[in-house]
Symmetry: C2
Subunit: 224 residues, 2 copies
Amino acid sequence: MRRAVVLLSGGLDSATVAAVAKDEGYAVSALSVRYGQRHAAELDAARAVAEQLGIEDHRIVDIGLGSLGGSALTDAALDVPKNAIGAAGIPITYVPARNTVFLALALGHAEVIGAQDIFFGANALDYSGYPDCRPAFREAFEALANVATKAVDDPSIRYRVLAPLMDLTKAEIIRLGTRLGVDYGQTHSCYDPSGALACGACDSCLLRKKGFEEAGVPDPTRYA
Amino acid sequence: MRRAVVLLSGGLDSATVAAVAKDEGYAVSALSVRYGQRHAAELDAARAVAEQLGIEDHRIVDIGLGSLGGSALTDAALDVPKNAIGAAGIPITYVPARNTVFLALALGHAEVIGAQDIFFGANALDYSGYPDCRPAFREAFEALANVATKAVDDPSIRYRVLAPLMDLTKAEIIRLGTRLGVDYGQTHSCYDPSGALACGACDSCLLRKKGFEEAGVPDPTRYA
């Protein structure tokens, strides 16, 4: 049985990717990262999603990314913007090099357990504009993976970085996950750490709401 | 004044690289990583080196790399090999994706503080054979950095990953650092966590001893 490492944040996209990997027959090892995100409800969601999908190997790696600062997702001094989709530039919720760090961890884990396929939920259509969610990033990381590891000396090892949601709209992602049995009520997308419910107005909530509407799927999210 | 991020492990190579960056006129921000290494004396050495070189901005990021296992440097169940230089293959002290993770952290830090140059002490001559210390790795990470970050949308940002020791012998590195005022008595190279003194027999100690001999520089290391 082929093994795969899936980066599982606990959000809608990564839950869908985990279901895709399961559906493709992989033995899935899920990896979540506690990186100082203020919306720590994400990690509870990741645990619930892993359980719901029957993923037994789920690891949470701690990393003090917050100590580097620079993002509204890790720095309590910065506000999470509301109703700002489509604003120019890369938003303040961008966490510098986050997906680079996460994929690096996933690569290390893959090398240890003998997996060659790494899945992550990057999506470059209905997204916040982060650079590390785009096709060029995926390609560059895959190229790196094959020179950064024992793969460089061993032709039997060839890492792949798979982003099956890259070219899907949010509605298409939701339809795909629904078909594969994802319980989106378990997932957490909201960037705002201040309330128990999703804020309904940050980029992530707005994209999620619009996605359910366009997919014609009932939105199980409880908004404030 | 140009800013640079320097990955500072506390070993001989990274101390030399930090001195090179200072000598080239950079405002140096040093980054060390507590990654579950058993030879934690490295971090004390990193602090001492930063102080000796007059680097005021020195951050230590915590990361639970040990929880992923797979290396004699992070797993107490695995022995650090002795007198094994030149053995075939990549040694058990290799930490999967370590430099990928470290450079990812350095890249995030660089993006936050507005540095575009990242220095690391990779060296592909007198080394243990790790894949992530070779020129192809440096090149691939530099390519990644420029699509993983805001640089992809901003032509005024161009990250460079600099490995000025890549093609030097250990003796040349020691002569260079000695000329730049590095106090190698403050650095720590030994992989073996079991004693207070350097073991003198792991790959790292063997390379270090040979380097001082060939450089004709007195070796300040206290071996067991």
